[in-house]
């Protein structure tokens, strides 16, 4: 299930659409879909990400460190790329776009690490008042009599 994310990460992903004839984009962290901009429901995006990760694990077992998968289907191509724990999949309709798309995805994954971190840890720097306790730096004495007794 895609999580609610900061608009800036979604906006950064939207910009990737200018890299070619892009039909959809999906960004995941490990097995969790962060943004689903595919023309498909979230459960299908989950299936896509799981299959890509499974494929990468399969090849890793044979000592292949795969960083890119590219598949062709009737009328559409799917490009999947990995960077650390992030997976980005793009559906595109022109084969000739693939290498520029791959480069643009690499730059995206490099430039948006902080946005991904913010999406994963939404409360990172914005501390809510409900999560805090007031500090009592000064002892609270009810009256001067109590102060005297303490002395």
């Amino acid at each position: 299930m895609a999580t609610k994310i900061a608009p800036s990460l979604r906006a950064a992903l939207e910009r990737l659409k200018h890299a070619g004839a892009v039909n959809g984009i999906c960004l995941a962290w490990r097995r969790q879909v962060l943004v689903n901009l595919l023309p498909f429901e979230d459960f299908r995006a989950d299936g896509l990400v799981h299959a890509l990760l499974e494929a990468r694990e399969h090849y890793a077992g044979g000592e292949h460190e795969v960083n890119t998968f590219w598949f062709g289907y009737d009328g559409v191509y799917l490009l999947g790329k990995f960077s650390g724990d992030c997976t980005l999949a793009v559906l595109h309709s022109r084969a000739v776009d693939v290498d520029f798309l791959a480069k643009a995805i690499n730059v995206f994954l490099s430039d948006t690490q902080l946005l991904v971190d913010a999406a994963l840890n939404p409360s990172g720097s914005d501390v809510s008042a409900a999560d805090t306790q007031r500090l009592h730096a000064v002892p609270e004495f009810a009256d001067s009599e109590q102060s005297t007794r303490l002395l």
């Binding site: 299959a51 090849y59 795969v66």
Partner: protein
């Protein structure tokens, strides 16, 4: 693409032929089968139909194939470098 490390293969009805060693043909066949399996799985997840082309790339290796819809015949190549996918795709498709 005049790269001496490019190895090209053709396959039909389960047998792979190439201009290099039997070991290379065996490796290509294994990668083809694995990649087609995962390509089909992705195709099912998004209801995209049959996969007819597959590729994977590492820092120093690129593998790509194209095949008929039933997967019984096709051609492919592997190259010992991080090669442009479209260039390899064109090469494999042209020579098929």
């Amino acid at each position: 693409m005049s790269d001496p490390t490019l190895k090209q293969f053709e396959f039909r009805d389960g047998s792979v032929t190439g201009d290099t060693s039997q070991e290379d043909a065996k490796n290509f066949a294994a990668d083809f089968q694995g990649l087609r399996h995962f390509g089909s799985k992705i195709g099912q997840a998004l209801d995209l139909g049959n996969v007819w082309m597959g590729a994977y790339r590492e820092a120093d290796f690129t593998h790509l194939w194209t095949c008929s819809v039933d997967g019984q015949s096709g051609s492919g190549g592997m190259i010992a470098r991080h090669a442009p996918l479209f260039e390899l795709f064109q090469q494999v498709s042209t020579d098929a």
